[in-house]
Every structure is written in structure tokens, then in C-alpha cells.
């Protein structure tokens, strides 16, 4: 009897040891959910610890030699300066820090040194999604760079201003952000985007030194690809939701709901003839396409008690031809 009980206890000990070692074994890979997550660019290179490392992680300069036309088009789009914008975006980032999390009681941020990646994802989710692949030190460095850039401008220190401007301009949505990082939306269904692969429409060898394989992205020509950053409404997954672009929401619930069937790519890349220079009204082509308008003028003679007034009635009809509301905001 006694020996049997002992054996039982011994066995259950072995069993629990076994469970323990399993629990310890899993976290050492660093990734608990998702097969192939360890093959992404971020996992292969390890988190960026400086802004320069983050820029290098998605460095797309090798692409420009062979895809010069795409580079030329892309560099005219705001995707090429998605943090700097026209200067207004970077300036609004600063306001977002000051009037946002630095001002809020429960954010945990009192000075720029307290900022973590999570605080910035409320904007970076769309303006610089690869920031998620960096450490909190990089978040602090980004905030410091935006502050120093604005301060240099106020103090008329053009050398420092241009140095920081240069850095901010390199933080963007480039070839690898779209053709690798964002090229797969449903990662458990289609797999995680892998380092060394460019995602387009075809499969096979790709002559880049590092990105030697070509694979199809299942959503590159679908609206949801752009929708990943063009907004549905409040970003409710955040601890403190932000809201900026809502064009994808309008596309779904207003354009498609009214019978629209074109994708973002059809209008912005193909019909516009602008290719990778995806544009808004700032491009004449897009402004011309945006609305149809009809003006009807009807003159008449209006009579008051004793006086006679010439009068004109004007009817204007505006039809929005875009795939979402105008303006977005």
C-alpha cells in the first residue's frame, strides 16, 4: 500500500515537472501565438534600439535601383513622409504629446523620458506602424527629435532643424512597409510576412541581394490593404482611443452601401494614372475627378409692395465621385 502511494506521488511529480518544463520552453522562443512569427523582419533582426536602427530595419534603398519608376512616384506621395507630412503632421505629433498623454493624469507620462512605444501607437499605428518593432528607448528618441526639431525652428537654428528634419523624413511608409510588413492582414490564415520576401502578385525568384523571394500578397489589390491605416473611426483597441482618418469606414458604410464597387487601388493607382504617387485633391487629376457639379441659374423679377427687384436664383448640385466622404477627417 505504502509503496504504491509513493509511486503515485513520484509519478505526479514527474508529470508536474514535465508541465513545468513545457511552460518554460515556450516563452524562450519569445512568441506564443502564431506560427512563423519568428520569421518576420522584426523577429529576425531583433527590436530596434535607436531611430537609426529602425530606419535601417526597413531600409528600402536597394529597391530604388531596379524599381526606379515606382520610387520616383512614391517619393512624391505623403507616404514618403508620413511622420513629417507637410511639417503639419510632425507639429501635430508635438501637440499630441503636450496636450495629450503628457497632460493626462493616468497616462504615466510626466516628461518625455517617460514615453513608451505604447503611448505613440495612437498615431504610429498608421503613420509609422513599424514603431511597434522598436524598444521604448526609440519612442523617447522620437519624442526628443520632434521637440528638438521644433525648438531649433523657433530659435532659427537651421543646421539643427535640418538635421532633425532629415531624420523625421526617413521615418515613413516605404516599399518594405507595404510589400512586406503590411502585405498580409490575416496572419493566422495566410502566414506572417517573412524576412527576405517581397509580397506582390507573383511567386518565384526575386533578384534583390537580401529579399530573394517573391510571393503573392492575398490583399495587395483589395481595399482592406489600405484600410489597415485609413481608419474606421475611433481606434478602440487602444487604452486611450485616438481618431484621425476615417476614410475606410466611409468607404465601407457609405460608398459600398450606396452601390460603389471600386477598390481604393482602382481609383488611386490605376484610373488616376498616378501609380505609387497616391494622391488627394492636392493633385489636379484627383481634384478634377472628385465631384460633378451642375449650376443652374434662373433670373426673375421680384416685386415688393411698390418696388421691382431683379433677382437671380442659383441651384448647385454636387455629386461626390470618390470612394468615401469628402473631406475625410
Amino acid at each position: 500500500m505504502l509503496t504504491k502511494k509513493r509511486a503515485h506521488i513520484f509519478l505526479s511529480c514527474v508529470a508536474s515537472l514535465f508541465v513545468f518544463s513545457l511552460l518554460f520552453a515556450l516563452p524562450t522562443t519569445g512568441y506564443t501565438a502564431g506560427v512563423g512569427k519568428d520569421g518576420t523582419i522584426a523577429a529576425q533582426k531583433g527590436k530596434a534600439t535607436t531611430l537609426d536602427e529602425l530606419i535601417a530595419m526597413y531600409d528600402s534603398s536597394s529597391c530604388y535601383d531596379c524599381h526606379g519608376d515606382k520610387h520616383e512616384e512614391w517619393s512624391q506621395s505623403v507616404h514618403a513622409r508620413s511622420v513629417y507630412g507637410t511639417g503639419r503632421t510632425a507639429a501635430t505629433f508635438r501637440t499630441a504629446f503636450l496636450n495629450g498623454f503628457m497632460d493626462w493624469a493616468y497616462s504615466g507620462v510626466e516628461s518625455p523620458e517617460d514615453v513608451e512605444v505604447e503611448h505613440l501607437m495612437g498615431c504610429a499605428k498608421c503613420h509609422l506602424p513599424q514603431l511597434a518593432d522598436a524598444t521604448d528607448d526609440v519612442a523617447k528618441e522620437l519624442v526628443a527629435t520632434v521637440f528638438d526639431w521644433m525648438d531649433a525652428y523657433m530659435e532659427d537654428d537651421m543646421e539643427t532643424f535640418e538635421k532633425h528634419q532629415e531624420t523625421l523624413l526617413q521615418l515613413n511608409i516605404n516599399c518594405l512597409v507595404c510589400h512586406n510588413r503590411m502585405a498580409i492582414t490575416h496572419k493566422w490564415t495566410d502566414g506572417y510576412p517573412q524576412d527576405g520576401v517581397v509580397y506582390g502578385f507573383n511567386e518565384g525568384f526575386h533578384p534583390d541581394d537580401h529579399f530573394t523571394e517573391m510571393k503573392p500578397s492575398p490583399i495587395l489589390d483589395e481595399s482592406i490593404f489600405c484600410g489597415q491605416c485609413h481608419g474606421l473611426g475611433p481606434n478602440l483597441e487602444l487604452d486611450n482611443p485616438t481618431q484621425c482618418a476615417t476614410a475606410y469606414g466611409s468607404h465601407l458604410w457609405s460608398y459600398v452601401a450606396n452601390g460603389g464597387d471600386k477598390s481604393c487601388q482602382q481609383c488611386h493607382i490605376h484610373e488616376s494614372g498616378l501609380g505609387h504617387n497616391m494622391q488627394s485633391y492636392r493633385s489636379q487629376v484627383m481634384a478634377d475627378k472628385a465631384v460633378d457639379w451642375k449650376v443652374k441659374v434662373r433670373p426673375m423679377v421680384w416685386r415688393d409692395a411698390r418696388s421691382v427687384h431683379p433677382k437671380v436664383m442659383i441651384d448647385v448640385a454636387l455629386t461626390n465621385n470618390a470612394g468615401h466622404g469628402i473631406p475625410d477627417g
Binding site: P234, P241, S250, N258, P299, H309, L318, N321, G325
Partner: protein, 86 residues
């Protein structure tokens, strides 16, 4: 335009994307919909003559930042000389 709500409550407009959540109203031009605007211009009472001529100009402006002082774009322009016989 979409008028975002400040922190998703009350009827106060939010300005920065860090405080915008939800919408108070949305007066944008919606896709595949036709919006109609009607204007009436009544001129001063006619004193003499039996005809008045008016050079009419109708313009559609896109104001990215809400005012004519900051980066406005002219989208459409319509001109017509209108003659009103009295």
C-alpha cells in the same frame, strides 16, 4: 465635413486626433450622393432702364484647414452673364 467628438462624449467638437473619438455630425459630401444648394440674390430695386446685367461667378473651394487664409484650393468655377428684363 465629419465633425469629430471630443473624447466621445457630449456635443463638443474634438480638434487633435489624440482627443477625437466619435462624431457630433457629418456634413461631408457622401459618396455617390448628390448634395443640393440653393442661393437667392436679390438686387437693389430697379430705378430706370428695362434691363439689368449681372456677371455671375459661382466657385467651389476646398478648405483643408477650414479658412481661406490657410492653403485653400479652388475646385470648380462657373461663370455666366445674366440678363434680367424688367
Amino acid at each position: 465635413m465629419p465633425v469629430p467628438e471630443k473624447f466621445g462624449r457630449d456635443d463638443i467638437m474634438g480638434r487633435g486626433p489624440y482627443e477625437k473619438s466619435g462624431m457630433v455630425a457629418d456634413t461631408a459630401l457622401h459618396p455617390l450622393k448628390t448634395a443640393k444648394e440653393h442661393f437667392e440674390i436679390t438686387l437693389d430695386a430697379a430705378e430706370d432702364g428695362d434691363e439689368r446685367t449681372l456677371d455671375l461667378k459661382v466657385q467651389l473651394w476646398y478648405l483643408p484647414y477650414g479658412t481661406m487664409d490657410s492653403d485653400p484650393f479652388l475646385w470648380k468655377e462657373y461663370t455666366e452673364t445674366v440678363t434680367i428684363k424688367l
